[in-house]
Amino acid sequence: MGRNTGKIRSFNLKRKNEYFFDYSLLLVVLFLLGFGLVMIYSASFYDASTSKSFNNDAAYFLKKQAFASMLGIIAMIVVTFIPYHFWEKFAVLGYLGSAVLIALVLTPLGIEANGARRWLNLGISVQPAEIAKLAMILFLASMICKMGKAIRTPKGFWLVAGVPLPICIMVWKITDNLSSAIIIFGIAFLMLFVASPEYKKFFVIGGGVIAFAAAVVIGLTMMDTSKLQEMGFRSARILAWLSPEDYAAGKAFQTLQSLYAIGSGGLFGKGIGQSMQKLGYLPEVQNDMIFALICEELGIFGGICVIMLFVLLIWRCMIIASNATDLFGALLVVGVLGHIAIQVILNIAVVTNTIPNTGISLPFISYGGSSVVFLLAEIGLVLSVGRGIRIKERV
């Protein structure tokens, strides 16, 4: 026995000297995925088992998500073992393809659910915005590499900044999904930041955006209420964000229910499966609001553990990106890192009422097939870039 293990170990060591494979990243992702399935079941079993539209099947959501996760893991494995430069050829196709898919939502292929037309029926239902995120990462990485030093010129800078805009506007206007548009733009902005040697421009733009947002909020609070009622949906969301208890029955309903869930979790939570808020009180609990459920059932302890897992995941992405053998690989990983980080931050900010309510799911954990499949494919890309890293001989 002892001898045999020795053999295997020396074999592994030999392989490890040649290749790098980020097991900790894989482990974190698989853990989040498994944890997500448990929480989806916890969130949905009561509703699913008492509702005829889900065949009274307690595991309805669990089964669908488990199936999507399997698909995603297959995609991840495939992508991991394909050298990432292979995908460069598809960069332009991906960009144009995602634009076409978004446009297809307007055709009879589009599916409407929960009051928004965001999905496509391609045998299975797919959310084009999720494809667009991956396509944008690929397209920008490829484009920046082709541009070379041109990125240092103002023209190059604004070109990279402008390229994502058509897709962002399509996602926003056609699928009525502002949050995905913001995420796509955020990813592009981050990739541009990493590729460009400059700092100043970014801080000016970043400062400008923050100042503009602050001005809008202050402006709204100073306006009198009669005028506000004439203005639409988004200004109402902002007001509900500022004083949720005044809009408890309307715009702030979900936010307030989310705060009830989070606040009643306390230090160690009510125990898994014991949430009260999931019993129909908190809308979209298995989806955008799943972090609130985690806090209610597992307490601040569970909530911080989940955040730390994402921090670890992002940290691993950073290590891989820094050590990537070329800029293309590094930018791909930076794009994925940005995608995950922005989405996690925005999701938790929404459930804690830190920003106005907008529908953003929590990566790997929230219910949603397209999201998990494409996220896992992105992790495959990261692992693939990681495999390209050569570890120096120890001898």
Binding site: A261, I262, G263, G280, I307, M318, D326, L327, T354
Partner: protein
């Protein structure tokens, strides 16, 4: 292929650090909600998730002065079905039809209704409830509940009043002593989902109810029972519309009995029968809720005022030709041909109208009205029952000689029977105003006194001399006057009769009444009987006085022992 330069690596690290800072901010936000605001949001969430179901408290008993229970509680059962717990549908339906005497259609419809809980029948007796529980069928729920129960049915119905389905007093003492009788509801707290469906597996919290306290009244079961009988007999014999009897202690205002037949069954207070068109009509307590023209019994009040003002002496002579001229109006005496020349005592004995009209006119409007007011006749008596009616009286500036003359012998204004009994009590008891009352004490469930209601004697209305003279005069009325039917062998009784025509004057309807008290020289009990619209002989002396005589014959020996 482009290299991943040092500058790019630096920026990757900078971006990651920026993200980490944002994560720290979010963790701080979580700490704020889950540590510092946790109690606030937990409370809000709890309020949202919990449903309160109330448990009825046992209502306090109402007792008579000797501890006889006049209002009690019985345990009853509410039978309901829970649709999705039913296993043997047919058997459930069979049992419910059989035990509750319900039609199959009715039961089937309720058993098949998809609701969380459906009531089949409430207020089912405990025996039937226990029997149904004995079948041990899943899906049938038998809840125990309390229901007000009045052991003597009609007895003192309008005084006691009754309590409604939510245990709340609706009329009578049940309303006035609501706070003491009702107790405190208990609560069952259960968790529900957002649709309001109870989650049994999460258990429940119970806060037990606190039973109501018991009320001891001044009523005497025996007197009330006997007076009710007499009133019923009189009503039947005289085909009267209504008969009211009040018996009270003139010294302290304690009411021994208050009868207003026809009474109604307190255990079925909503069954009107054919003679009423309106429940309020059936529930009205004629002794306090309605006014009447008192007629000649009011001559007691005129006499008291005249004696107090020294405008009359017992020997003073009056002449009655059968009428008296007041201004240009001729007011007749009830005795055709008149009483002729009478002393004041004889005038009292004969209830001679011109005699009392003369007294009234001698006093004059100012003095007469002052006494009317001083005796408390313009105010309510303050009896502890709801809905006491006020006096209907002329405004002082509208009283001319004719009005004064009619008021002096008890007509052209209206008071309640309780006001009549109370005012006469206050004049003959030595001259101090009393407050009629029924509630005496509140006892806790172990019989300890928690609260005592005290009614101090009010202001002095007349001197004790005047009061003694009144006692003498009224004893003369019984001994040799119109009140001779009120005479009770072996007791000194004072009294006064009255016969008044109801409005409109030509209707031929009368009210016969009599107020009596004993012993005449130290009154310990005073009784008033009012018979509305008796047929045949309608004089108070013939109709009402015998009622009080019979009552006194029975209760005076009984009260002597008390």
């Amino acid at each position: 292929m482009l290299k991943n330069k040092t500058k790019n690596r630096e920026k990757i690290v900078v971006a990651t650090i920026l993200f980490m800072i944002l994560f720290l901010g979010l963790i701080a936000r979580l700490v704020y909600f889950m540590v510092f605001q946790s109690q606030y949001y937990s409370k809000k969430a709890e309020d949202l998730h919990v449903r309160e179901r109330y448990i009825k408290a046992k209502r306090g008993k109402i007792l008579d002065r000797n501890g006889v229970v006049l209002a009690d509680n019985v345990t009853v059962c509410n039978i309901s079905v829970i649709h999705n717990q039913i296993q043997e549908r047919e058997k459930v339906i069979d049992v419910l039809c059989k035990e509750l005497n319900l039609s199959r259609e009715y039961v089937e419809k309720r058993v098949d209704k998809v609701t969380s809980i459906e009531k089949i029948k409430s207020n089912v007796s405990k025996e039937i409830g226990d029997k149904i529980r004995g079948y041990n069928l899943a899906g049938i729920k038998v809840d125990e509940d309390y229901k007000r129960y009045y052991p003597y049915g009609e007895l003192a119905s309008k005084v006691l009043g009754f309590a409604g389905g939510d245990n709340q007093g609706i009329i009578g003492l049940e309303v006035i002593y609501e706070e003491e009788l009702q107790g405190e509801k208990g609560v069952i707290l259960t968790y529900t989902d957002a649709r309001g469906i109870e989650l049994e597996e999460r258990g429940e919290k119970r806060i037990e109810p606190v039973d109501g306290s018991n009320l001891v009244t001044s009523l005497d079961y025996n007197i009330q029972q006997y007076a009710t009988q007499l009133a019923k007999v009189a009503m039947e014999k005289k085909e009267a519309d209504r008969v009211s009897i009040i018996v009270m202690n003139p010294q302290n205002g304690e009411v021994y009995c208050m009868v207003d037949v026809p009474e109604f069954d307190l255990n079925h207070p909503f069954d009107m029968g054919s003679e009423y068109s309106d429940l309020n009509q059936m529930w009205r307590n004629g002794c306090i809720n309605d006014t009447y023209e008192p007629g000649s019994t009011f001559k007691i009040i005129t006499t008291a005022a005249a004696l107090e003002e020294n405008v009359v002496s017992l020997e003073q002579r009056f002449y009655c030709p059968g009428y008296i001229m007041v201004g240009d109006r001729r007011i007749r005496c009830h005795k055709y041909g008149g009483h002729g020349s009478v002393s004041f005592v004889e005038g009292m004995q004969g209830s001679c109208n011109p005699t009392f009209i003369s007294l009234g006119l001698t006093l004059g409007v100012d003095r007469y009205y002052d006494y009317f007011s001083k005796f408390g006749l313009l105010e309510k008596t303050g009896v502890d029952l709801p809905g006491e009616a006020g006096t209907i009286m002329h405004k002082k500036e509208n009283i001319g000689p004719v009005e004064l003359a009619t008021v002096a012998f008890g007509q052209s204004f209206q008071i309640t029977p309780i006001q009549m009994a109370t005012t006469v009590s206050s004049l003959v008891n030595g001259g101090q105003r009393i407050t009629p009352h029924i509630g005496l004490r509140i006892l806790d469930k172990d019989g300890n006194n928690i609260k005592k209601y005290t009614y101090d004697k009010g202001e002095t209305l007349v001197s004790s001399n005047t009061s003694e003279t009144l006692q003498y005069l009224l004893e003369q009325v019984v001994d040799g006057g119109t009140g001779s039917n009120g005479y009770v062998e072996g007791y000194r009784v004072g009294g006064k009769t009255a016969t008044s025509q109801t409005l409109p004057r030509n209707s031929g309807k009368y009210i016969a009444s009599y107020v009596g008290f004993a012993p005449a020289d130290n009154p310990q009990v005073l009784a008033l009987a009012v018979v509305h619209n008796p047929k045949g002989v309608y004089y108070g002396g013939q109709v009402a006085a015998p009622i009080i005589r019979q009552l006194f014959e029975n209760i005076l020996p009984y009260l002597d022992r008390m």
